[in-house]
């Protein structure tokens, strides 16, 4: 297989796997742009994966494949409620964002397995079917692009790409987005301008819950076919994408797709002769090392929201 053929062959899988990361990373973007550091993306994704799997299994006998689609908004809602814990701690109780985020991750890991074992008897929920791949008739015949975008895709990919567009529009083209970003850059100025920092930060964190819940649900239904008690560090990969993409929606799209290809190549390398001798560990650690290198290279001009991680107290300056 030539290089371009290999690339095209891997594309459906790489694009597919990068979408859940993109969703969670967009969630992280809303949270951090509003000024709340969120390392709990992993936990929020896990809760989404659990909720989607549970709802799918419960509703499938009654309504069939519609259960998978219905489970997505449910997973978003459950993860949103779960992220409210982080919001309350960080916004209302001035908690350390990193400690609260760690608690969110540990809580998600413990809670989901606890409930899954209590209600189903095992720590695993198997979903039969899940969301299926779809090849667009006609469009898939377009050279190159047809293979990358319209062959073996999931409908959820288009949903998440739409959310990316919507997020960009919300953050950069609306007064809501300006307000949200100002809370992450200079909350005191925002407050003086009559913006409720508390309200915007709550919205930012809750959106991160909903979006990473969607990411977890999509991963569970498309790839894992259920809940397995882990989301394999995808939430931290989303965090790396957020930093590598320099806290910008289009940068995040680029970094998640980039990381998606890296992890796909690493996963198939063992069965592809072209990569047989290649040390796959380099591809696996690539996202994390690349993120650190980007931070090193841009250490003088940090792109991070200036007030991210800082508690906001109206009375203190």
């Amino acid at each position: 297989m030539s290089a371009i053929d290999t690339f095209l062959y891997l594309s459906p899988m790489a694009i597919g796997v990068s979408m859940p990361i993109l969703a969670a990373s967009l969630g992280g973007l809303f949270s951090e742009r509003s000024g709340v550091v969120n390392i709990g993306l992993e936990g929020q994704m896990l809760v989404g994966a659990f909720a989607a799997s549970y709802v799918s299994v419960r509703l499938y006998p009654a309504i069939g494949a519609a259960a998978f689609w219905l489970s997505l908004p449910v997973a978003m809602a459950v993860a949103l409620l779960f992220s409210a814990l982080h919001a309350v701690a960080c916004v209302s109780l001035n908690a350390n964002h990193v400690i609260s985020g760690t608690a969110i991750n540990m809580l998600a890991a413990a809670f989901t397995v606890f409930f899954s074992r209590t209600v189903t008897g095992s720590g695993v929920i198997d979903v039969r079917g899940g969301i299926m791949r779809y090849t667009f008739p006609g469009l898939s015949n377009i050279p190159v692009l047809g293979k990358i975008l319209f062959t073996d895709t999931y409908h959820t990919t288009w949903l998440i790409l739409f959310l990316l567009l919507a997020s960009w529009f919300m953050l950069y083209k609306t007064s809501f987005g300006l307000g949200l970003r100002s809370c992450g850059e200079n909350p005191h100025a925002a407050n003086a301008a009559g913006i409720s920092v508390t309200k915007y930060r709550y919205v930012g964190v809750l959106l991160s819950g909903a979006l990473s819940g969607l990411g977890g649900a999509v991963y569970a239904l498309c790839f894992d076919k259920g809940f397995t008690g882990s989301i394999y560090g995808l939430g931290f990969l989303a965090l790396a994408s957020l930093i590598f993409g320099r806290w910008n929606p289009w940068g995040i799209l680029g970094s998640t797709v980039f990381f998606g290809y890296a992890s796909t190549v690493a996963n198939v390398a063992t069965v592809m002769p072209a990569f047989a001798k290649f040390p796959t560990v380099l591809l696996k650690v690539f996202p994390y090392v690349a993120t650190l290198l980007v931070l090193v290279f841009f250490s003088r001009t940090s792109a991070a929201p200036k007030a991210a991680g800082e508690a906001f107290d109206k009375d203190k300056h």
Partner: protein, 370 residues
């Protein structure tokens, strides 16, 4: 009347632990179990019947020792104003480095030398891994939280790759590293006899020694004073002639070494092989230990015992009561959550003192309006 002054942070730590247990009790009620029975089984499971066998006590102690070492790692970094969320990755690297070193040792190597090699290489591996984050912070100002999170996953995949490809258990099981014989690990025969359990190992003494050593370094040496100064206010420390960057790197090196020691106690003592595909949860539980222990070595040791009990009694609770053992992990996570949300207690206590202050004032004015 003189009132007894209890330091506020201590009260908050106790309140966080209490809240965690209350939330755990609520969870048990939700699934229709009796929390008193549940907790009783949990605590009984941590000691079982010491008159017959000390195995449960030994299990609790060795789990506490691992938690203590990873907690000390976070506490040491914490004193210098650094949050070492990478203890899990440092444990993994320390355990892996020591395992590789022991694979290379001749099988007739004296036990004392084996133990020395394990401890030195393990501590060194952890220190190097954390030191990278320290240098990134000191030299480029990169947040140590981000750096250590990324390094955790680099460790995760690196160890995964090398275990699968170079040190698998056998031709069939590639997700576990080659099992070490007891003689080539931190396990000691006389400890096994006392505690009637193979899990109890030399790490127990390492943990105790490190509690004393970190206390000594932090409180009795100039070096420790300088580190604490950097943690309290790095600009003031710089002004006083202390090099904050060097302090940051040193603190991360020591924190990493402590995590590495936790790693060898776990991977080359409690178990004798490395399972890939998971970061050791002890590394994250260390956060709870350091928070509840208020970053002081004595406090960390006490908190480690508490969480050691939670960890070691949970399986017995599942067998006795049918309550899933993840409940204990829920309690630990909730304790971390409430330790972060310290303001909650601050607000509560402010409200209480306001009420208390208001009550006598009202009494003095006679309670009536003129």
């Amino acid at each position: 009347m003189k009132r007894l002054r209890v330091p506020k942070p201590f009260i908050f730590a106790v309140a966080a632990v209490f809240s965690g247990f209350v939330a755990g009790a609520l969870l048990m009620l939700i699934i229709g179990k009796n929390p008193i029975v549940g907790y009783a089984a949990l605590f009984r499971g941590a000691v079982k019947n010491p008159a017959v066998s000390l195995s449960a006590v030994g299990q609790t102690l060795i789990m506490s020792a691992i938690l203590c070492l990873s907690g000390l790692s976070l506490a040491f970094a914490g004193k210098v104003g650094l949050f070492n969320i990478g203890a899990a990755g440092q444990m993994l690297i320390g355990g892996f480095a020591a395992s590789v070193a022991v694979y290379r040792l001749p099988t007739d190597c004296p036990k004392a030398l084996t133990i020395a090699v394990i401890l030195v290489v393990g501590a060194f591996g952890g220190a190097v891994w954390a030191g990278v984050a320290g240098v990134l912070k000191a030299r480029f100002g990169i947040n140590e939280v981000v750096a250590t999170i990324m390094l955790n996953w680099v460790a995760f995949w690196t160890v995964d790759y090398f275990v699968r490809n170079y040190f698998p258990r056998d031709a069939y099981v590639k997700t576990t590293s080659r099992v070490l014989p007891d003689a080539m690990s931190l396990r000691l025969q006389w400890l096994e006899k006392i505690f009637d359990s193979r899990f109890v190992n030399f790490g127990l003494f390492v943990a105790v020694a490190m509690v004393v050593l970190t206390w000594f370094i932090m409180n009795k040496t100039v070096f420790g004073f300088e580190l604490r100064a950097v943690g309290a206010n790095r600009f003031a420390a710089e002004y006083a002639g202390i090099h904050a960057g060097t302090g940051t790197v040193c603190a991360m090196l020591i924190a990493g070494a402590l995590a590495g020691l936790a790693g060898v106690t776990y991977y080359l003592g409690y178990v004798t092989s490395i399972q890939v595909g998971v970061l050791p949860s002890y590394g994250y539980d260390g956060i709870a230990v350091a928070l509840v222990g208020q970053n002081s070595p004595g406090g960390v040791a006490a908190a480690a015992l508490l969480f050691g009990v939670l960890r070691s009694g949970k399986d017995f609770m599942t067998i006795e009561t049918g309550i899933m053992n993840e409940l204990a992990d829920c309690v630990i996570a909730i304790i971390i959550y409430f330790s972060a949300a310290i303001m909650l207690y601050e607000k509560l206590s402010a409200k209480l003192t306001k009420k208390r202050a208001a009550a006598p004032a009202a009494a003095e004015t006679g309670g009536g309006k003129p």
